[in-house]
Assembly symmetry: C2
Homo-oligomer: 322 residues x 2
Amino acid sequence: MSVTYRDAGVDLDVAEEVAAALRTRIHTGLFGGFLPVPQLKAYDLPVLVSSIDGVGTKVHLATQLDRVEGLGQDIVHHCVNDIAVHGAEPLLFLDYLAFHRIEPSLVERIVTSIAAACEALGIRLAGGETAEMPLVYPEGRFDLAGAIVGAVDQARIVDGSAIRAGDVLLGLPSSGLHTNGYSLVQHLFYADEYDRYERALGTTLGEALLAPHHCYLPEIRCLLATETVHGLAHITGGGIEGNLGRIVPGGLAARIDVPEPPPLFRYLAASGIDETEMRAVFNMGIGMIAVCDPAVVKQIGCYPIIGRIEGGDSEGRSVIWA
Amino acid sequence: MSVTYRDAGVDLDVAEEVAAALRTRIHTGLFGGFLPVPQLKAYDLPVLVSSIDGVGTKVHLATQLDRVEGLGQDIVHHCVNDIAVHGAEPLLFLDYLAFHRIEPSLVERIVTSIAAACEALGIRLAGGETAEMPLVYPEGRFDLAGAIVGAVDQARIVDGSAIRAGDVLLGLPSSGLHTNGYSLVQHLFYADEYDRYERALGTTLGEALLAPHHCYLPEIRCLLATETVHGLAHITGGGIEGNLGRIVPGGLAARIDVPEPPPLFRYLAASGIDETEMRAVFNMGIGMIAVCDPAVVKQIGCYPIIGRIEGGDSEGRSVIWA
């Protein structure tokens, strides 16, 4: 008896073929990927800012609907936003894809979308791993994760510590659910409901749910240029309260009055998710909150003001809903 | 009817509890993790070297045998080796863990092992993501990936381009299978075979298979100090031929004569894997190959010489087995 990797459900030829195809797209070295960063020498004190994340079970919905082309923007934008909130400029991105069995056409479509999202933002796609793990993933299932590294000069780090009473909160609109709440959503609907046109959404439910995660980098750059930004919160898992609460300093509180959420959120609420749960899971139409000196209003004045910073209340809450 | 995330199989409280526990261990910021890198200003041209990888289905075997404590070294050392072969010093590491359902004690054990592996090498554990994805992972299954970033001064990049005829190949011993070939291995054995003491291995099969991936960073630093190193190959998936072949320049070939592999590899061969497959999948006892000027032998002289670089043969092979 002679046993091969193929018998064990792993096809080395397919893995190598996929790796070879990807090499043209990924600026990788041999074992690691290279990125010269001469610009860091000009920083007074360069600080690397990094993050790693997945897109949750949005991968599952995208696969079910055979619409995986948005996943590149989902994972890249999610990661870019997570370091942009600290004032960092993105430098490089790495992706991780793991399958029951590598599907070359699926890998091709997803990595193409990742490469395009990176290229649009001037980020180096420095490497990636495509793994075949029949013992971990069931047939037809896969996972996608990404890691990002950027840099900021230490004196320019944004971390919320400059937030003070009287600051205003600007709410930057989201493009949909971004990458949170998909296990809950997929628990609510039957497979045949996603392709049905929904008048309230102006599109199908599937289309609305798969809208790619919005990238806030250009808007954040613009806001930072006003020198009024005291804190930025990326609204992901945990919703507005969970994420805004992380940057409000002790002794202060954000009193917020969020406008009525866009149709998709009202549609989900009407499908049976209660209000408290909605707020704990979803971004409610606001994917990024900028906490700024009120001077920002004169300088920018285009984003809705969704709240203000005031002295903390006796219960020590950092976020108070109006 | 009111539906919650818990109904969908996701427990936000557990996720938050785990996140809070990990914050003490991970030097993360709020959304991204910070690492000041003043040392890069002293480089003539700093180059970031990065890599992302998983540990394959070794996670599955480690879980089955309830011995996950080695996984931290597995993922960290795998990543460290992948950038150390380019002469880079590691700076920061990020981990990704995804579950059917987050098991706090398992997360705790794995992240503790990752943090310890990072700390031992002076690497900043700059962030991590722990995801609960009931729609992607079956019950009891999980995946682990990691990303690393290091730096090297451009003039000191090692990429094999300096390799020339007459160079010697040093074989640095592996500690076992490292992180490759585990789907194949788990196809060969029944669950009750792992705990049986094997005289040939001097331990149980499970113990031998779960030996953590060896870290070559100290040895690579020592070799680089001799200024004789022309290329380094980390022997992972694809075996010696697949990985050494990546760094041998065109027109040259590595003629290798690998010593008899350690007992674990002979044990696996005897269990029914043919020789060609063994070589294509496993490291055969050599986890790192250093291609060096022969002067290295006088300076170091402690690693077995497993081959030499010569002019390429008419078939254009880059690796020729003696």
